[in-house]
């Protein structure tokens, strides 16, 4: 089930290259709501997302991704890829260790919109 594993290693802050990529629209900026990615990301944090990250390669375990919610139209979620299922779907889950704040969801690859590449700015 596990294809490969990217070690958990914090969240990079947006620096020159990332900001440049955002300025030329190769990064999208999103604001995080909710607590399921705590302690890494808190509500109000802004992140940059690479929408082209998975054009040439597949999402990898450990990636933090933005995805369309499989059943709630219009809802976009930010989660970490926990596992790749045998049928090709991805198991997404938040980082928050509190189970009340965290429940896994399963999404097909086509709903994954991009990979979170850095934190643009923390919640003020």
């Amino acid at each position: 089930m596990v294809l490969n594993h990217r070690e958990f290693s914090g969240m990079r802050e947006s620096k020159g290259k990332e900001i440049f990529l955002w300025l030329i629209r190769l990064r999208q900026r999103y604001r995080v709501t909710g607590a399921s990615m705590r302690p890494l990301l808190s509500a109000g944090d802004e992140v940059l997302v690479d929408p082209q990250a998975y054009l040439c390669q597949s999402p990898r375990i450990g990636d933090i991704v933005v995805a369309r919610h499989p059943t709630q139209a219009g809802l976009q979620i930010i989660k970490r890829i926990k596992a790749v299922r045998e049928d090709g779907d991805y198991q997404l889950q938040g980082d928050n260790p509190d189970p009340a704040q965290n429940s896994p969801s399963r999404v097909p690859a086509k709903l994954i919109l991009g990979r979170v590449t850095s934190r643009f700015a923390p919640a003020s």
Partner: protein, 152 residues
């Protein structure tokens, strides 16, 4: 660089949001989880009270210690489950229909705390009554008939 991005965020906040909120996506709520935890805490309270305080054997000390641990864990779990239900499931229109909703949850959460820190049979039973009331309100808001039952 940090100042730059913070300033951009302050004056031009991101228009798009991504939800890191589990309960939005899953939407599965049921007061049964709190009821099961509260039943376990009640059962442990009964078991603690059934122990002979004059029996100074290791076996009894061991049982007492385990019962206390489980009672505290389960009472805390019941409290967490109730708070999630209260803050995440219930919405302002529910409050209009059930004006004592906040008080019901507040009192139930306080009972969880009492059951956790004390050995109090009366409060453990009161907690189950409070959860029964929450069960009734919850399923009424879902417009579904759901009989209340207990495992023990």
């Amino acid at each position: 660089m940090k100042l730059l991005t913070r300033t951009i965020k302050q004056f031009f906040p991101a228009q798009k949001t991504v939800s890191a909120h589990c309960d939005g996506p899953c939407g599965v709520y049921d007061p049964a989880s709190a009821r099961i935890a509260a039943e376990a805490a009640l059962s442990m309270t009964k078991k603690i009270l059934a122990l002979d305080p004059n029996d100074r054997s290791h076996a009894t000390a061991n049982s007492l210690s385990r019962f206390i641990t489980i009672k505290e864990e389960q009472a805390q779990l019941a409290k967490t489950d109730l708070l999630v239900l209260w803050t995440d499931y219930f919405k302002p229109p529910h409050l209009e229909e059930y004006p004592d909703l906040h008080d019901t949850f507040w009192q139930a959460a306080k009972l969880c705390s009492a059951v956790k820190v004390e050995v109090n049979l009366e409060k453990a039973e009161e907690l189950l009554k409070a959860i029964n009331k929450i069960h009734t309100i919850f399923w009424a808001t879902k417009k579904r008939e759901m009989p209340y039952y207990t495992a023990s």
